[in-house]
Symmetry: C2
Subunit: 326 residues, 2 copies
């Protein structure tokens, strides 16, 4: 059994509660299809487009649920986290919508675009040395000084429950799914997806999609022991983190498999989606599309749901190229 912060087992009920809690704030994102991908996979594929979610990724769901779950007394003191990516923006906006101060620790080498986006949502940003220790220490100092509540990007029951709402909406909208694909990094999205999917549709298969260059989830499941010490090598910047203490057992007990994806296949899938669907997805999302295109899983004649986790891509280099052609 997985236990949330209040001591009760984490279940689909918590996802349902999260859904009601975030409904006034989060987008119900559209589900898109693509005939070119259906043709390739010989399947009916349904893409849950969290790239269209507020702040550009599913992370807003979990952050919003976590902030909305805080008592008024805690909300006044604010929330603190460390993130260089999508969770920083998500928590910043979730906090602002709840009139809660947000303190975000970012590594000093984070891109200006990400710092600006996070600051744009009203968060106070503290730069730290770009190491795990540096991040934790900075966040801890802020927590002590302000009394703010620390909210992990994925290893938090409220966050996990929030992430499950995307899959809940997908299953409600699309009947008869045989298989659901979701990327796995820290495991928040995959855990939430499992809670929702296995409760609503017990027969559905759920597969986590992971970069081969950051295959800690696959190895953790093989060895039965959570691997936390590894050096990721992947362009999928959202999937470089280890599984959490909460997410590991949920995934271990519920997932039907982890499929590994090469860097070349990540980029191929990303380009395929951009060119054919005309939507922007980030590399971490492409990890869950690649298995539809490269033959590593059985897709033929199946109804497949894919959680497109986000669309935050740094386009500076591309537009610098285009400006150069003017």
């Amino acid at each position: 059994m997985n236990v949330n912060s209040s001591g009760s087992p984490l279940s689909a009920d918590h996802v349902q509660e999260a859904r009601a809690r975030i409904a006034p704030y989060a987008h119900r994102t559209p589900v898109l299809t693509c005939s070119a991908i259906d043709l390739k996979a010989e399947a009916s594929v349904f893409f849950k487009c969290e790239n269209f979610q507020k702040t550009g990724s599913f992370k807003f769901r979990g952050a919003c649920n976590a902030v909305a779950s805080l008592s008024e007394a805690k909300r006044v003191k604010g929330v603190v986290t460390h993130s260089s990516g999508n969770y920083a923006q998500a928590l910043a906006l979730a906090a602002r919508l709840h009139m809660t101060p947000a303190f975000v620790v970012m590594p000093e080498n984070a891109s200006d675009i990400k710092k600006q986006a996070t600051a744009g949502y009203g968060a106070s940003i503290t730069l730290c040395t770009p190491t795990h220790a540096g991040r934790h220490e900075a966040a801890e100092r802020i927590r002590e000084a302000t009394g703010a509540t620390f909210l992990s990007p994925y290893d938090d029951a409220r966050v996990i429950a929030g992430q499950g709402t995307a899959c809940m909406e997908l299953i409600e909208e699309i009947a008869g799914l045989d298989l659901i694909l979701a990327p796995v990094g820290g495991g928040g999205l995959l855990s939430g997806t499992l809670l929702a999917a296995k409760h609503m549709l017990p027969s559905v298969e759920v597969i986590g999609c992971e970069p081969a260059g950051a295959d800690d989830a696959a190895r953790s499941l093989q060895t039965g022991k959570r691997i936390v010490d590894f050096t990721p090598h992947t362009i999928a910047d959202g999937l470089r983190t280890p599984l959490g203490e909460l997410t590991f057992p949920i995934i271990r007990d519920g997932v039907d498999g982890i499929v590994l994806v090469s860097e070349a296949d990540i980029l191929h899938a990303m380009r395929f989606v951009w060119e054919r669907m005309k939507i922007l997805i980030e590399p971490s999302s492409a990890v869950a599309v690649a298995p539809l295109l490269n033959g590593t899983i059985k897709t033929s004649k199946r109804r497949i749901g894919v959680i497109l986790s986000g669309g935050n891509v740094d386009l500076t280099a591309f537009f610098t190229l285009l400006e150069g052609t003017l």
Copy 2:
């Protein structure tokens, strides 16, 4: 009065007929909104997403209507055009769906991606020297040899009527529009938009959006004489053509204005849409977004429809960059 190929005035009735004719083949594309753009423009903006249309642009509507309008005897002999861009793919697919041979003349320096896409839809491709004369001669030779019907990308009543169906759908879906923005190149889209809009919503203002580096439409309206001889300098590759004999009078008599857009503003608008809306639009589409962001037209408190004409962008350079980082 504008006269179509059958000698009758071209009107919203033709757009309505086109709509019925292409309904089995074309997507009814979604209308999206973007709070960041609404905020900037202090307006309610509704984007008609023809980038999600089949073959990635509105061109499919006109091509499909033109092919479907042909007699069975003509259809058997096929269709021929010259195009290096979106119309090539659009006509190729429209022809294939009607089991009609398609002959497309493309300049020999057209990109491999465009040649492949057009060939992928089953068209026979003939390469020509990349001049106006070269294109016309090659198309004419094919027409004579095969008996195929020549279909202009924009200067054809059936094509114009087809392009108007996008605006017709938009007005049906979104009530009370004050202003509609559409890009103008050859004028097919803007002409069709005017036919639909001014009939359905006589009070609506329709503004054509044109690159300052290919401002022939603006100058043609100023002088009252269609300018055909000019050298375009714009990244908006769909808008480099002069107005046609049919489209010029429709635009001259109906449009409320032409707004010119700089190259820098085109790229800025394109990036804004990619980053905030997470959808791919091509530079020609961004020309109709830029006036919402740069203050050149009055947008405040208005309900504004924008035809996002297409999403076909060559991503080779960008993905080559990304591959280099692996």
